[in-house]
Amino acid sequence: MKKHYNIVIVGSGAGGGTVANALIPLAQKGARIAILEQGPHYPHSFFTQREIEMMRLFRFNGAWPVTSGEITIAAGQGVGGSTLMYTGVSFRLPQDVLEVWKVPDLTYEDLSSRFNRIENDIHVVLPSEKMVNDNNRLFQKGCQQLGWPVKKIPLNIKNCQKVGFCNLGCDSGSKQGTLEVQIPKAVSAGIDLIPNCEVHYISKKKIFATIQNPPHGTLKGPYPSGNICFHSDIIVLAAGSPCTPGLLLKSGFQKTNPWIGRNITLHPAMTLYGVYPKPIVNYRGFPKTYYTDQFTDSHDYYIETAFYYPFVSSRHLGIWGRDLSETMSMYNQLMTVLVLNHDKVMPENRITINRKGMIQVHYKLNKQIISSLCHAQIQSALIFFAAGCERVIMPCASPHVIHRNKNNPKELKQLIQTQNFIPIKTPVSSAHPQGGCAMGAAGQSVTNSWGQVHGFPWLYVADASLFPKSAHVNPYLTVMALADRVGEHINENQNFLFNS
């Protein structure tokens, strides 16, 4: 099967959805535009609030391991991409981070105006007091007692039901991800949405893909199952990192650009737990409303609130045996935080393709990250104790369970040490893979500041793989702003519409 379009966007997450939205004026002028999504198109009724049933929203069930096995990556797979199962955190890229990125022609003024507009479109708000559940309230109390800044997290939510299942798909549609906002607008404007479409490789203005039958309970696309070749004047890759650089590698683009697959960062994260003396219902209400940036400059991490479901919690705890049974028997007393390290680009970390054509992420946790994560465990323990917890469970402590009588920085330092960090055993995850198609100057990067691949004017990238370094914060709003730039560049260079 062959299909002709003027523009094909590969991916429907924060990047792909936003590009599609930005291209609505072109669609209204008659341009033929399609969005290809590898995963299914889930209706709200599909989201059953059960973690084992919703693991299918994630690639590799939410645990895509890097080759060293030291980190597992969680990435969404379905219309909406990772905005399908993120918590709606919508931070702006910090100005000092943009300055470190040093991307020619990418200014903070440009991004700011886009942030303003996108925040309005996707309804970014600071959560009201009604949104704050016990876990968040205790986090706020703990930070305040320690004299640390505690700030509200900007969220893109509307009429939130506060049921607490954001990471399993929002069944009320309150979370304003691309599944709710940008994609429906684009489809209404005549842009084709093609779910269950796996792209194998691209060549000049062609995309080779296979469409699968939609899984039971999901929405159908416009074309039947089978192999399909899309001819397109412009191709926009927004499959996310590591899939976008992986697709370019599979398609042989590394022969002309050796930077593809380089400059990756993952935001290595640890979820940490304390046990509060009485029941607190943390799995209901909104999981994330506060964070502290006390240690971002000195030790490269943020601490945010978080809360997860029983199976995922049991994995994050990093313990087993009597400790696990005892801790999980108090699941309704657990207080939780998420530590988000902003890692640095290392030359040995990169994306490649193996002999079978599978995307591989090569990543090792270096001493600096391990040291930062251990420091974060000590500080998190202080927050838990200041909030009133009786004990904490720290993966790098020996023993793992620390009781309240050890609540002072000196003793915690003795218990939580980097030598107790055993790669793979110590649970570290990533929900923010970035880089692999870095923006920058020609000869040192993959794309220019408009996401256009150097040497291939018909090919764009519009997702987190554009980041030349870590964004430090949750990346979705930054991805949307960069994707909006890609859309603008295509809009301004639309001669192809009339040439084809």
Partner: protein
């Protein structure tokens, strides 16, 4: 009735014993080494890519055989103290494959246990608000609700 496709014979005994070590009984929580846990695990193993499934099942067989070095007999026939010693050794092994294998085994046992509704009472988790939402896969829902008898 649910008939296990992959967890049988020595692997069944090994996983049941390992599950009892990884999640032992505590107050109102029963231990994880039950056929209901096995049912959910077996269903999940059936969804794995074939190569990964082969590696996982091979690892279980290795755990079974390695028991000889920790208690003189295969894993499931050793005393629980020896089983725990073996699992601790694998978790901290210098060999990456053992650490990855142990993490996989532990994760699947936790999945088979903590996603089941009968466990939720013991951990004080109320479960989904929309309890009866149509399941994408009715079989896994029934296994998690202990509505299917699991056999080998």
């Amino acid at each position: 009735m649910y008939q296990c496709k992959y967890i049988k014979g020595h692997r069944l005994k090994t996983i049941l014993s390992a599950a009892n070590c990884i999640i032992p009984a505590h107050h109102h929580l029963e231990s994880a080494g039950t056929m209901n846990t096995i049912g959910v695990m077996d269903h999940a193993i059936a969804q794995m890519p074939a190569e990964l499934r082969f590696q996982f099942l091979l690892f279980i067989s290795i755990v079974h055989v390695l028991g000889i070095f920790f208690g003189g007999r295969c894993f499931s026939n050793n005393r629980q103290a020896d089983q725990i010693r073996q699992l601790q050794w694998m978790e901290r092994s210098m060999i990456r494959g053992f650490r990855m294998g142990f993490l996989g085994l532990k994760s699947y046992i936790c999945m088979g246990y903590f996603t089941r509704e009968s466990t939720w009472n013991g951990i004080h988790y109320c479960g989904p608000i929309k309890y009866d939402q149509t399941p994408p896969d009715p079989l896994i829902r029934e296994l998690c609700q202990d509505k299917r008898k699991v056999c080998v």
